[in-house]
């Protein structure tokens, strides 16, 4: 999406359709064969000794090395990564950074605007609770939810998507029908129904006692995995026809080995990019659910429910709404920029964006 900053990548739809490709990128993994442009006059001989001898420099860089260097060159993505890490660290060490606990009451400073006195940088509410501290704790909650959602839905989506794409058959049918079904229903409404009633409070797994953020994350993951599954299914459908998969099959590799050793590594780019999209989506959706009162509930601070609590007095105490919201905007923007940089780096041919 921000190819704006640079000339187009080879292999992208933006790349010039000229006669250069064979030569330009013959040195790496970026050889793009134009449809119908035979290269039979350029018999490929990747004999590095020969190349060295001839004074031609052949840089044998792996696909990942290419991706890494492309990502590091993406200034916006790198900047966003720094900002995001800073914000997340603030959330992680909220207990050390915040001057107050998230529910501590400072009756000397009620409804105070953003000020440096008594360290109420983001102001206080009608009980004198410090919003800077509450936002820091909110970041922690929201980040936990988003992290859990992205991990869970990526694993589930990748598994289902790869098996559906590879084997086809009933699993594929089931997945596609399920997707059809989801598409006829407003996703937010389904989530709300689920969130409204699927057990209020915490999850108790004997030894593990998980907070309500995990319950919310679980519900979100149940919706988000389908997106990843569809992407992975599409990738696998096309990879299935590739020669190296045929070759692996012909040499007697088992299905599971082919999926995990041959096809999955070649799908990692889009999967990672989609994972960032899921993470951003999860933060936005969690905040919406919490705002509506069906997600993370007080007293646990989450960015969405902080805004909901501030809403009643927002005309005068605007800071109660503005700062938690700005935090969401910054986090989501950073994730999207990173995702964009990753897309450019890992998967230059893909231009699809989340809408």
């Amino acid at each position: 999406m921000t190819e704006v900053s640079r000339p187009p990548e080879p292999g992208s739809p933006d790349a010039p359709l000229v006669d250069l490709d064979g030569t330009l990128y013959a040195s790496g993994s970026q050889v793009r064969t134009m449809p119908g442009a035979p290269t039979d006059l350029a018999p490929e001989l990747t004999d590095s000794a020969l190349a060295h001898e001839s004074g031609l420099e052949l840089k044998a860089r792996s696909q990942w090395a290419y991706a890494r260097s492309r990502f590091f060159r993406h200034r916006l993505a790198m900047g966003s990564l720094v900002v995001l890490i800073a914000v997340l660290l603030c959330g992680a060490f909220a207990g050390h950074i915040a001057s107050y606990s998230y529910d501590a009451i400072d009756l000397n400073n009620i409804n105070a605007g953003p000020t440096t006195t008594a360290h109420h940088y983001f102001g206080t509410d009608q009980l004198g609770r410090d919003y800077f501290s509450r936002v820091l704790y909110g970041i922690r909650t929201s980040a936990r939810v988003a992290f859990f959602v992205s991990i869970l839905s990526t694993i589930l989506g990748t598994l289902v998507g790869s098996f559906a794409g590879y084997f086809g058959g009933w699993l594929d049918n089931l997945l596609m029908r399920f997707t059809d079904l989801i598409l006829t229903l407003p996703p937010l409404a389904v989530l709300l129904v689920a969130a409204a009633r699927l057990g209020n409070g915490t999850i108790n797994l004997g030894l593990f006692h998980l907070g309500q953020e995990y319950r919310v994350a679980l519900i979100l993951a149940l919706l988000f995995w389908t997106g990843i599954a569809r992407v992975v299914r599409g990738l696998f459908l096309s990879l299935r026809e590739k020669e190296y998969v045929e070759a692996a099959k012909a040499s007697g590799s088992g299905d599971v080995r082919i999926i995990f050793r041959h096809m999955l590594p070649n799908s990692m780019g889009p999967i990672i990019v989609n994972m960032t999209l899921v993470t951003a989506g999860a933060i936005l959706t969690e905040s919406a659910l919490s705002f509506l009162g069906f997600g993370i509930k007080p007293p646990t601070a989450a960015l969405g429910n902080l805004i909901a609590q501030g809403e009643t007095q927002m005309q005068t105490q605007w800071w109660l709404v503005v700062f938690p919201g700005l935090t969401i905007v910054i986090i989501v923007m950073c994730i999207n920029f990173i995702g964009d940089g990753l897309r450019d780096a890992l998967d230059p041919t893909q231009r699809r964006i989340r809408a």
């Binding site: 010039p16 000229v18 250069l20 030569t23 330009l24 449809p35 006059l41 001989l45 020969l50 190349a51």
Partner: protein
């Protein structure tokens, strides 16, 4: 010699990329004479397409840029024309047949519309029904059956061969003086290729247009071209009469190209590929661009250090024969294995 239709002098085209400046075309000079077919042959990336597309302003700019040169066409330098003037040349007095007919026609517009548009772009005064008659006449010329019905159809209702016929009809719609065919048969089935060549010949006869035939297919050159230019790494390495080039090639690269093709008249166990890869056009090695792969060079210092000029060669045969090899004379007596009446791939 008659006046050339198109006269290109010292053309250089650069592309700016992340990794540096790619010198796609690097000082190319040639003429095209009326009525002749000039073949330009070379592998992908040799600059053969860019050298013609750039003079019509059809390379993406940026990253592409014509950095120097002159392209005289009908008394004007195309490289100095305004966008508007250049647009009036395109599709009018100079037209192109592209490589892939499957993607070169707009999928959402009717064939008749797309052809008619070409005419109207340059003859705005023509009435709609005149244009339609004209288009149907064109479709008939290129051998499309039932042209009235085909006029109303979309590209996806055409087969590959039929689409390429339509592309040729589009190219000759305004009686061009010069026709550029950029790999016109590459994307087609072998059985269709011969038919399209016939159509191309018909089109040439109808319009008396000079033709530049860009291809990697030596067989096609042998079949169609009068003169040949061999390009390598953005430069012309050999130029000459088609018979001369095939009978007495005087550049090691040309010989290499021919050696790497199969011959149907003899048993061959092994094709001889050219070793190595084309050089990077960004960090071009000094000296002759071909020397790292050359069987003649054999580590000679001159090949490494001094860039060979394109110079006249006397190898018998008719017309001008140029080669860019320091040691072209050492190839004296070399004949290509394709010298005998040729049957090469792609042409039946």
């Amino acid at each position: 010699m008659p006046e050339p239709v198109l006269s290109i002098r010292d053309l250089a085209v650069h592309f700016t990329t992340d990794d540096g400046v790619v010198r796609a075309v690097d000082g190319v000079t040639y003429d095209v004479y009326p009525g002749e077919t000039l073949g330009i042959v070379g592998e992908s990336g040799s600059g053969k397409s860019v050298s013609t597309m750039s003079i019509l302003g059809l390379i993406p700019q940026p990253p592409g840029k014509v950095v120097s040169g002159e392209a005289m066409f009908q008394g004007r330098d195309l490289l100095k024309l305004s966008k508007k003037e250049l647009r009036r040349v395109r599709g009018n007095s100079m037209a192109i047949v592209f490589q892939d007919p499957m993607t070169s026609l707009n999928p959402v517009l009717k064939i008749g519309f797309q052809l008619g548009e070409t005419i109207k772009a340059h003859h705005g005064s023509e009435k709609d029904d005149e244009v339609k008659d004209h288009v149907i006449q064109l479709l008939r010329t290129v051998g499309i059956p039932q042209p009235e019905r085909r006029f109303e159809q979309y590209p996806h209702e055409f087969s590959g061969g039929m689409r390429q016929r339509a592309m040729i009809a589009m190219a000759i719609a305004n009686q061009p003086a010069l026709l550029i065919a950029d790999e016109p048969t590459t994307a087609l089935d072998v059985t269709i290729q011969a038919q399209i060549l016939e159509v191309l010949k018909t089109a040439q006869d109808e319009t008396h247009a000079a033709t530049i035939l860009i291809t990697h297919d030596l067989g096609l050159i042998a079949e169609m071209a009068d003169r040949v230019i061999v390009m390598y790494a953005g430069k012309i390495v050999e130029l000459g009469d088609v018979n001369t080039i095939f009978a007495a090639p005087r550049h090691p690269y040309t010989i290499g190209l021919m050696e790497s093709l199969p011959r149907l008249t003899a048993d061959e166990d092994w094709l001889r590929p050219i070793p190595g890869q084309p050089p990077s056009l960004i960090n071009r090695p000094p000296g002759c661009p071909f020397h790292p792969r050359c069987f003649l060079s054999q580590g000679r210092a001159r090949c490494r250090e001094e860039e060979p000029p394109l110079r006249p060669i006397h190898a018998g045969g008719t017309g001008v024969h140029l080669s860019a090899c320091h040691f072209a004379e050492e190839l004296e007596g070399a004949t290509s294995k394709l010298a005998e009446p040729t049957v090469a791939e792609g042409v039946t």
